[in-house]
Subunit: 256 residues, 2 copies
Amino acid sequence: MKNKLEFAKQIVLEAGEYIRQHLDDSLKIMRKTGPTDLVTQMDQQVQKDLVEKITRRYPTDQIFAEEDGLRSPISEGSVWVIDPIDGTNNFVAQKEDFAVMVAYFEEGQGQFGLIYDVMRDQLFYGGGEFPVYRNEVELTPFVDRPLDTLLMTSNVGMLEKNEWGMVDLGMKCLGIRVYGSAGISFSKILSGGILAYFSYLWPWDYAAAAIMGERLGYTVLNLNGDQPNYQTIEPIMMVPKAKLSEIQTYLKKGRN
Amino acid sequence: MKNKLEFAKQIVLEAGEYIRQHLDDSLKIMRKTGPTDLVTQMDQQVQKDLVEKITRRYPTDQIFAEEDGLRSPISEGSVWVIDPIDGTNNFVAQKEDFAVMVAYFEEGQGQFGLIYDVMRDQLFYGGGEFPVYRNEVELTPFVDRPLDTLLMTSNVGMLEKNEWGMVDLGMKCLGIRVYGSAGISFSKILSGGILAYFSYLWPWDYAAAAIMGERLGYTVLNLNGDQPNYQTIEPIMMVPKAKLSEIQTYLKKGRN
């Protein structure tokens, strides 16, 4: 497994290097489900490169990825979960605050995850049997402290409509931030700067963070408090286990 | 004036270096107007150092600053406007996404401004007779493009209550971000990654950005479309002049 993690680190860093080298390329921006759900040729190329490298090295491994409808079930066999560019709108508009994310599962058990904040050159990796690192620094588990000393981050739509009681929860925290990228939000939690994250997410958005977070005292659940299904989009939270019951007292069941 | 700007760059960089060196000091956190309006001994020390250096070098210059009630009127004489740590809650909780900001006025006319994103080591400076730089890179003016290709950033309270029609405006954009620091939000506008920023701000929050933005095609106004008063807290926007009338069609007058 150590070799596989080293291989994963290498291909994720290479993906980031590719993106940085092509940052000034003109982008072919395409809409998927709506006017703010974008994909570019860079998302597609980065995923293609990652999938090719994985299947060349591990020909029997399977893929569950954001683009091109690659949807091998995560519960069976050896499966790589890939989000080639998480935060595509930030990538398009800001050229920063986006991430490459990869997670690896065997028979449904997370073995390791990686989140690469490309423009800050910060690689988060580990989980499963491995400690979690940000580049060369080993990260430390969540230390409990009062809710009103901690920042949370959320999907902006949840705030606008107080879905799941998100505004009520936010009032109990030090403040709310919105970064427009699951990978960036999760990486800030892993670093210890943000308490929790709430959004509507696909498995490729949360898989890597869930595996790494488990080692640092966090849990990834849907907003009803159940395990995510690792199949469809769901309302998802990543929270410290030590804060879960306190946070749940402020969350309302259902959207409103 | 060139010497004065060089002096300002030097003291702002020194302030950032001081903060980085003391990043692991234990913080004395005090509340000002409410549970999320924080100040630390670092804000106070950084302001004290800046004020001392300015008044030693320019003994007749005046100060308008966030802490300690320094409120010389910006409209008269030579006045330095100082925000020692903008984004104090980010500083306390995240140790990133905060800024040191300084602006300089003569008889109410902005001469130059500086925003230092301390942890990214990005110094934005210029305005008045000077081009605007991010470190050694000269920044380019806003280039008009459709609203739905651009991200905006806002105060989270405005989103929660659709104050000023902020949610309606957000629906016309590519997305909304919330960074918890005026300096960080403005620096992203100056870099070209964010269209506009909306929040309740004091003069030390917007003075530097207003002076630099003017050179790059932006304007800082209150949400009624008037010049800020440079005295009290107001609802403030920084927007490209080329987009002002389009943005104003979505803004509602008054809070709701």
